[in-house]
């Protein structure tokens, strides 16, 4: 006669595991606080960078700017933070030292922009913008209506800012860390202390024990999701798109595949420290290669091929699609399948490599 999986042992095991986690300050720190520090760093400190204005020093009188029509003038002021000085030498020195991005003077009908090569992006913005204003003014003075017009539209939602990109990536990293470390430390620690043997001798089935461990890890992942998305929304104005809720099954499936990695780390090592170090060795490079910290768009093709093998890459991409890129729920299906397949294959591998004996 086999006993049914009684809810009571399952509950008792889950509570015991959860208490063990919450009382381990290092685990809580690395699961929640540490990744949140990165969120604050990326979301708060670096967020302004792409919108920051170009510091422009206006040397002497520049009638061209003063004579701009109102609409163009406000566009000009959106792009440039203008200060004025009468001394060209001081202005050039400011640009050279990086205190200002461009010094602008007018010689007759010629605008002269002094920029520094060390700030290439702002130099390009300055040149492009000033040229557009000059060309626009020339066309207006000719009295002819412009023949061609240019309209630019961003592919993404207007609100797409740094926080939109970093929240899913850092969340994926946080989930990967706590799931992989938790599984690695549990299997190795329980084997060392013979608790695993002890549980085998109790009238509870393996599914109950494994289920309790998975349930606790999933609960931790979902709490991480709530904290990350909540903080990003409240403090940094994260805007979620329509099918963001599909991120929940993605997080669940991602958690399972990272637990599988942790099991593998626990199966091939001989000490708890070894297991956690190996998990760390797997997770940190994976986070870099999966675009958790910076986008991979500019990286070489071979690197992107490599990253396709990593579960975190698919979790991150899936979450970006549904949480901020406004894709439909269907876009999560392929990442879900890949993550599930990874979890199954790696768990089977870990089970094959697992040894009861620690010597």
């Amino acid at each position: 006669m086999t006993r049914p999986v009684s809810s009571s042992p399952f509950r008792a095991l889950s509570v015991a595991i959860l208490r063990g986690f919450l009382r381990d300050k290092a685990s809580v720190f690395f699961a929640v606080i540490f990744p949140l520090m990165f969120l604050v760093l990326f979301g708060g400190l670096f967020a302004d960078q792409d919108q920051s204005k170009v510091d422009l020093v206006q040397v002497g009188s520049v009638p061209f700017v003063q004579d701009l029509p109102d609409a163009q003038r406000s566009a000009f002021e959106d792009t440039f933070e203008v200060t004025t000085t009468d001394d060209l030498a001081t202005a050039l020195e400011d640009v050279r030292k990086g205190d200002a991005d461009v010094a602008l003077e007018q010689r007759g009908d010629t605008l002269v922009a002094h920029y520094t090569q060390t700030e290439q992006v702002k130099a390009a913005i300055t040149q492009g913008t000033l040229r557009a204003f000059v060309d626009g003014s020339n066309v207006a003075l000719s009295g002819e209506p412009p023949k061609f017009a240019l309209e630019t539209e961003r592919v993404e939602d207007d609100s797409l800012t740094t926080i939109q990109f970093v929240t899913p990536g850092l969340l994926g990293w946080a989930v990967a860390m706590s799931a992989a470390f938790g599984a690695a430390a549990t299997i190795q620690g329980w084997r060392q202390s013979k608790l695993l043997r002890r549980l085998q001798l109790a009238p509870v089935g393996t599914p109950t024990v494994v289920g309790a461990r998975i349930a606790v890890t999933l609960a931790i992942s979902l709490v991480q999701f709530t904290i990350f998305v909540g903080l990003a929304a409240v403090a940094f104005d994260l805007q979620l798109t329509g099918s963001w809720w599909m991120a929940l099954p993605l997080v669940v499936m991602g958690t399972l595949s990272f637990m599988a990695m942790g099991l593998l780390a626990g199966a091939v090592t001989k000490t708890v420290e070894g297991a956690v170090n190996l998990a760390n060795f797997l997770v940190l490079p994976m986070a870099f290669l999966s675009g958790s910290f910076f986008p991979l768009d500019g990286s070489p093709a071979w690197l992107q091929r490599v990253s396709d093998l990593l579960p975190l890459k698919h979790l991150n991409e899936g979450m970006l699609d549904v949480m901020v890129r406004g894709q439909g729920p269907g876009s999560a299906v392929v990442p879900l399948l890949i993550l599930g397949g990874f979890a199954v294959v790696v768990t089977l591998l870990a089970a094959r490599l697992f040894r009861w004996e620690t010597t």
């Binding site: 015991a16 063990g20 009382r23 002890r198 001798l201 109790a202």
Partner: protein, 299 residues
């Protein structure tokens, strides 16, 4: 019906035969010790009886039932304390034993009673990591007994304890088969087996060399007794002249008279009023082990 019946039980690893044709019967209510040095095969033997390991040959019956494959009906009748302190990390003593109680569908009442019984009530809120070695062993024994099993396995419960803590634990251990419970204890301490066990199985290199009561094992050894008399009471020459003395030694603690007739020698010493500071040491399980294996006991 015996609690445990083993017939020709065998377990082999790549090059090593860990358990080699062991047959053994343990009656209900018996306190049996399995005695042997590290690597003798005690743990492997126990793991096969507990149903954790599949034997390569032979048979295990516990309460007449087969233990392999996993027999969950038996598992609730068996309690196991493993060598190491097998606990959930960072739980208090009370949380620990209550968790184990839940695994056997036992309520918090018996859990707290067992905590009391092993003398850990005042440590109930202490985390297991902060318990002393002796306290942790008491807790792990309580966790093994929380579901009131009919059969208990204790795997080296006093290992790594200092002598004082070991002796304290003996009182607890000797009380756990009071209610007719069967206890199987492995140990590599001779004195422990002698004091606690009804019967002792001496094991070495995968085989049971002897299986009997400690007294019968020592008797069968037929080892001479060693009678020590305080220094100055008797000279070595006088000692050698006592009838029945086969050998004498002069030591710091006094003169040692080796004899197979300790009764006669004591009577002779008493007649000469030479009993000051006398001590008599008869054979121990240690000697039994030496005689059986032909080598010093290596704990």
């Amino acid at each position: 019906m015996p609690a445990i019946e083993l017939s020709n039980l065998t377990k082999r690893y790549a090059e090593l035969t860990a358990v080699d044709g062991v047959s053994l019967e343990i009656g209900e209510g018996e306190f049996v010790g399995v005695l042997g040095p590290n690597g003798a095969g005690k743990t492997t033997l126990l793991e096969m009886i507990e149903g954790l390991r599949r034997p390569d040959g032979g048979e295990v019956r516990v309460f007449g039932e087969s233990v392999w494959p996993r027999n969950s009906g038996l598992q609730s009748r068996i309690g196991v304390q493993l060598q190491a302190s097998s606990f959930f990390e960072r739980l208090t003593a009370r949380e620990q034993i209550r968790t184990f109680a839940s695994l056997y569908s036992v309520g918090t009442g018996p859990a707290d009673e067992w905590l009391e019984r092993v003398g850990l009530s005042d440590k109930a809120d202490t985390r297991v990591e902060d318990l002393s070695g002796g306290q942790a062993q008491r807790l792990s024994i309580a966790c093994a007994l929380v579901h009131d099993p009919e059969l208990v396995f204790l795997d080296e419960p006093t290992a790594a304890l200092d002598p004082q803590a070991r002796r304290n634990l003996w009182d607890l251990l000797s009380s756990i088969n009071d209610s007719g419970r069967t206890v199987v204890l492995t140990t590599h301490y001779m004195d422990e087996a002698e004091i606690l066990c009804d019967r002792v199985a001496v094991m070495d290199r995968g085989r049971i060399l002897q299986y009997d009561t400690p007294a019968a094992l020592v008797r069968g050894l037929d080892a001479p007794a060693r009678i020590t008399v305080a220094p100055g009471v008797i000279t070595v020459e006088q000692a050698a002249a006592v009838p029945g003395v086969i050998e004498t030694e002069e030591r710091v603690e006094g003169v040692v008279l080796v004899t197979r007739d300790p009764g006669g020698v004591i009577t002779a010493l008493a007649a000469g009023e030479q009993l000051d500071g006398v001590s008599v040491k008869t054979g121990t399980l240690e000697d039994v082990f030496l005689a059986l294996t032909g080598r010093e006991y290596r704990a």
